[in-house]
């Protein structure tokens, strides 16, 4: 798989806004940005209210995903181009999530909403009407998703990449710097994890760094690119960004996203935790 298969430029996107068979999807936790203005013809997906189970901490099930995509007017053979705010965190999460449920033609808009805005490209408020489809999902591909026991077993065995900021990794902060810090769980990181903040993989304008740069960043951080890898952050969206860089851009075979991430791990009774900076 090449970079062009999974990542499209803002210029390409602008040329393909009306192309049949291509559906642009804006994904965010807070969808008020979409409501104020979005890429023309893009539909919105609400990360919290549409992709998460309303009661349990888990994803919507297969039938729920089928219903969601059918209502959004997305068909199995459509090419879905995902983008969003926060440097594409939630769009990358949706990319990984669509992949879990077996959607085949998927692309991420390089730079996301930020690059689109910084380039002064057009945003509209008109919401497209797409006819309902009968979407059929596959069972979750669990080769892409790590669960807590697997993370504990991976300590000192597999690559574990903690993609949070250095202060979250060290245990000084429990959340990113734009959020208040109160939280229930213990601070720190999974023993043997290396800290490669997600932002290392991105340029200032939100685009991904080149494959050569990415390879250098992860290798210098101490990752053995031939070993299986688990990525995590606080709730699994920043680590989806890194999962995308490792699995989709660099083409590593065995990379899982641990969506339970620190909010789960840091609340588990009895699991080992380390604090302090990257060794």
């Amino acid at each position: 798989m090449s970079r062009e298969d999974v990542l499209v430029s803002t210029a390409w996107a602008e040329e393909n806004l009306d192309t049949p068979g291509i559906v642009f999807v804006e994904v965010d936790e807070d969808t008020s940005a979409y409501d104020k203005g979005h890429i023309r013809n893009a539909v919105k997906i609400d990360w919290k209210n549409e992709l998460q189970d309303p009661v349990r901490r888990d994803f919507v099930d297969k039938a729920g995903f089928e219903k969601l995509l059918s209502e959004k007017g997305i068909a199995n053979d459509d090419t879905v181009v995902l983008y969003g705010g926060n440097n594409n965190w939630f769009a990358a999460y949706a990319y990984w999530y669509f992949k879990l449920y077996g959607h085949e033609k998927l692309k991420l808009l390089d730079g996301g909403r930020k690059k689109w805005e910084l380039e002064g490209r057009e945003l509209v408020t008109e919401v497209p009407q797409r006819p309902q489809t009968s979407y059929v999902a596959k069972e979750q591909d669990l080769s892409l998703r790590a669960f807590r026991d697997e993370v504990v077993e991976a300590i000192n065995q597999k690559n574990i990449v903690d993609v949070r900021s250095p202060d979250e990794f060290a245990g000084k902060l429990l959340a990113p710097a734009h959020l208040p810090q109160e939280s229930a769980q213990r601070p720190g990181h999974v023993p043997s994890a290396v800290n490669v903040p997600w932002a290392k993989a991105a340029n200032e304008d939100g685009t991904f760094k080149s494959n050569e740069e990415l390879k250098q960043i992860y290798t210098e951080a101490g990752l053995d690119l031939n070993k299986p890898t688990i990525a995590y952050c606080r709730i699994g969206e920043r680590s989806s960004h890194t999962w995308f860089a490792l699995h989709e851009l660099l083409g590593l075979q065995d990379v899982k996203n641990y969506d339970g991430s620190w909010t789960e791990y840091g609340s588990l009774v009895g699991v080992p935790i380390e604090t302090g900076a990257n060794s």
Binding site: W89, L118, A177, L179, A199, I235, E237
Partner: protein
């Protein structure tokens, strides 16, 4: 009071930070992005640590306001906008509100 642990990591909508803002014992860095002396709406504002490493990013409000929760240290606040970029330094120590303006 604690935040819900399963709530997302997205940057919240930005708003003004009044002088009597309750920092809840945290280092808060807040301010406004301006261009030509006027508030510049919707710039992307990045907080960089003393090593220039990325610590956080928010999108400023319609009035150019932004707010970060940080720690003691030297920080750079950098603003990106279609009209240009700008940055400002701020040094923090004890938990309280620190003000910084960034001109683009």
């Amino acid at each position: 009071m604690s935040v819900q642990v399963d709530s997302g990591c997205a940057a919240p909508a930005q708003e003004a930070t009044p002088d009597d803002f309750d920092t809840r014992g945290q280092v808060v860095i807040a301010g406004t992005v301006t261009a030509g002396g006027q508030p510049l709406p919707n710039a992307y504002v990045r907080l960089l640590n003393a090593d220039g490493e990325f610590a956080g990013e928010v999108q400023a409000s319609e009035q150019g306001e932004f707010r970060f929760y940080a720690a003691a240290g030297k920080w750079t606040v950098r603003a990106l906008h279609a009209e240009g970029t700008g940055e400002a330094a701020v040094e923090t120590d004890a938990p309280k509100l620190y003000r910084v303006s960034v001109s683009v």
